[in-house]
């Protein structure tokens, strides 16, 4: 499937765009404005969706669902907040709904009560790119992946996560601790491997 390579350039050119005007035009159902809004936010939002799913195909489906909701609910957006944050929130909700409703994820998204792990204080070097880090997060079991994304990346509190996912706060904490521990190991290994590879090629 071909990627739209020109999209990044277009996005860069749109940095100075007046988003309030775009939102107004979108509300008037102007196709150009809708496309502009999509082109500006789609790459970032696909990154968000990518972290929550296991395949690019699913990530694109979530992106699609999310953007349809964005256009449907754009009238609810108050310009007091940041548009990107509002869209991101919709994407995260779309992703969580997708995980809950999709048969393949629903079974993986089981949150068993685990013995409480102490949260690792390790702070490994991150000699890896954003997409590589995202790929590592995606390799986590779906439950760990979701809680890690919500806590470490989106910044939700365990109480909020518990409410969103319908689990106990303790489960959220223990799952996060476990996820963090696994990911730290992987990051260290990956960073070490990357370093060796780089030195090797030199």
């Amino acid at each position: 499937m071909q990627r739209n390579g020109k999209m990044d350039c277009q996005c860069n050119a749109m940095h100075q765009i007046d988003f309030s005007q775009i939102v107004k035009d979108c509300l008037k159902r102007k196709p150009e404005a809708q496309r502009m809004l999509y082109q500006h936010f789609a790459p970032t939002m696909l990154g968000v969706c990518f972290r929550y799913t296991k395949s690019m195909n699913d990530a694109e489906e979530v992106l699609q669902i999310g953007f349809i909701k964005v256009f449907e609910r754009l009238h609810q957006f108050k310009e007091e907040g940041e548009l990107a944050g509002w869209i991101r929130k919709i994407m995260v909700n779309a992703a969580l709904n997708y995980l809950k409703t999709n048969q393949r994820y629903r079974y993986d998204l089981s949150f068993e009560e685990m013995p409480l792990h102490l949260v690792s204080t390790e702070n490994p070097e991150m000699n890896l790119r954003a997409k590589e880090l995202a790929e590592l997060i995606r390799q986590l079991p779906t439950g760990f992946q979701t809680i890690f994304n919500l806590y470490a990346v989106e910044g939700y509190k365990h109480k909020e996560i518990a409410a969103i996912l319908g689990i106990s706060e303790g489960t959220s904490r223990s799952q996060y601790a476990r996820a963090r521990m696994i990911l730290t190991e992987w990051i260290e290994k990956f960073s070490f491997k990357e370093q060796n590879d780089r030195y090797g090629t030199k």
């Binding site: 790459p43 972290r51 699609q64």
Partner: protein
């Protein structure tokens, strides 16, 4: 602190993550947004159509009702006037009905001695029985009343058949003369030594040569149920013959005409038959490596798919038929309908995302969908032009609410479709109309009630069922399957007189 640093690093790193999506995503979003607009337009157009149709129907009916009520009002006024005249003129107290050319004889015999009012009512009743219109009665009454009021010796109510009766019937100036084309009904009334003669020409009644006088007499006698020595049986026979022949002539006229109407049926299209199961095998999904194979980021080809998939199940969906028809009475209670209609059938199934055309050049279509997920609901549309032929049989004898059973056959031609076929490996849906049997034969049946049967624009409504006897396709996803339709059919007959 270090823990927070880890999360910050993660956030910072992932904040840089930007992945440009494929063009298909925006196409889907755009399609969805525009689809909503289109749906709104369709709903709006449908509402406008319904409003116009309802408005038109209301106007047509109200005009018809106005005419009726006007006629009834006129009749009532004339009757009231007539009563007043009668009160003023005592000559109406003793009125006789005679064969017309021999009033004195009848008066003397006292056979038809009754009040004028009674005669009016009975004549009116007689006319209604013969299914003449209100206009007929009104004109007759008005003429009678006006002439009575003016004190004319002779009053003649002439039936103008321009509306209701055959045009070749004419009124002769002298109603008492033997008329070979008409039956006459004379009302002679005498008052204060003056003779009042009322002659009403009943057109449209078959002539009985040489028996005008007798038949006239008998009709009157029978209608008034008077036994004046004439055989009751023979009078009944004649009266019946007259009535039947009158009805026949009217019906013959009606039967010769084709009436035009519009029809609309709304319901559900269904698919059945065929030995192939349309139920998906979910286990096949489990075998699929979504990350390595389904990811569009990979440049996969058809050969990279080794799993066989089954299509998602087809769900019945909405359907409608709209068209025009012509209708003809083939007998007293049976009708023949012919028509031409546009028929829309649809079925839905779930598919994955739309796939770029380039990945499967062997499937020469732009409608290419994956079956690896069930995220989209796809509507398979089928557009047909249909020619239905039906016979309608009236059940029962109700005239106010006739019930019909219709049965017939139809031929339809597939004119367009966006429906998807399925390729089990690599699990792709694609559009290919070459599979279909374009010409379809079907049978249909239904029941209907004719609402507002006596209104100008009656509405025929009831359940309707169609079964296509032809197979949709010999092979493919619809191989060996048959379409059927169940819904409500409504027909509006236009230009009923």
């Amino acid at each position: 602190m270090e823990q927070n640093n880890f999360e910050k690093k993660i956030q910072q790193k992932l904040g840089e993550l930007k992945i440009p999506p494929s063009d298909a995503v925006w196409e889907h979003i755009e399609k969805h947004i525009n689809g909503r607009k289109d749906r709104k337009k369709i709903i709006l157009l449908f509402l406008v159509f319904i409003s116009l149709a309802s408005g038109g129907y209301y106007i047509l009916n109200s005009i018809a009702n106005d005419t009726k009520s006007k006629n009834q009002l006129e009749t009532a006024i004339v009757e009231t006037g007539s009563k007043q005249t009668k009160k003023e003129d005592s000559s109406f107290n003793k009125t006789t009905i005679s064969p017309g050319n021999d009033s004195e004889k009848d008066s003397a015999s006292g056979v038809n001695s009754t009040t004028h009012k009674t005669q009016f009512q009975k004549i009116e009743h007689n006319k209604i029985e013969r299914r003449t219109t209100n206009t007929f009665t009104t004109i007759k009454d008005r003429n009678l009343a006006v002439d009575s009021k003016n004190g004319n010796n002779k009053e003649t109510g002439t039936v103008d058949d321009n509306k209701n009766l055959p045009a070749n019937k004419q009124t002769l100036p002298d109603g008492r003369q033997a008329n070979s084309q008409k039956n006459e009904l004379d009302i002679n009334s005498s008052a204060k030594g003056q003779e009042k003669n009322t002659s009403i020409v009943v057109a449209g009644i078959e002539n009985i040569p040489g028996k005008n006088e007798a038949s006239h007499n008998e009709m009157v006698i029978q209608n008034e149920k008077m036994a004046d020595g004439i055989s009751a049986d023979s009078s009944r026979d004649l009266s019946q013959k007259t009535r039947v022949s009158s009805k026949k002539s009217k019906r013959n006229q009606q039967n010769q005409k084709w009436k035009i109407g519009v029809t609309f049926s709304g319901g559900t299209s269904m698919i059945g038959g065929g030995g192939k199961s349309a139920t998906p095998n979910l286990s096949s999904f489990a075998n699929m490596d979504f990350i390595s194979v389904a990811s569009p980021a990979n440049n996969y080809s058809l050969s990279s798919f080794s799993n066989y998939f089954t299509p998602s199940s087809m769900k019945n969906s909405m359907a409608f038929i709209a068209g025009i028809f012509i209708e003809k009475n083939i007998s007293r209670k049976n009708k023949l309908d012919l028509g031409i209609s546009y028929k829309y059938y649809s079925l839905t199934n779930t598919t994955g995302n739309k796939i770029d055309f380039n990945i499967a050049p062997s499937l020469s279509t732009e409608n290419l969908y994956s079956s690896w997920s069930n995220s989209n609901t796809y509507r398979n549309n089928f557009h047909y032009i249909e020619i239905p032929v039906s016979l309608k049989f009236q059940l029962g004898h109700s005239e106010s609410l006739p019930i019909y059973w219709s049965v017939g056959m139809n031929v339809s031609q597939l004119i367009a479709s966006n429906s998807l076929q399925f390729k089990s490996s690599p699990g792709l849906y694609y559009n290919d109309n070459s599979f279909y049997n374009k010409t379809q034969f079907g049978l249909h049946t239904g029941f209907s009630a004719l609402l507002f049967a006596k209104a100008k624009v009656p509405v025929d409504i009831g359940p309707y069922f169609i079964y296509n006897t032809s197979r949709m396709a010999d092979d493919g996803l619809y191989g060996g399957k048959h379409f059927s339709f169940i819904g409500i059919k409504a027909g509006i007959l236009l230009g009923k007189k």
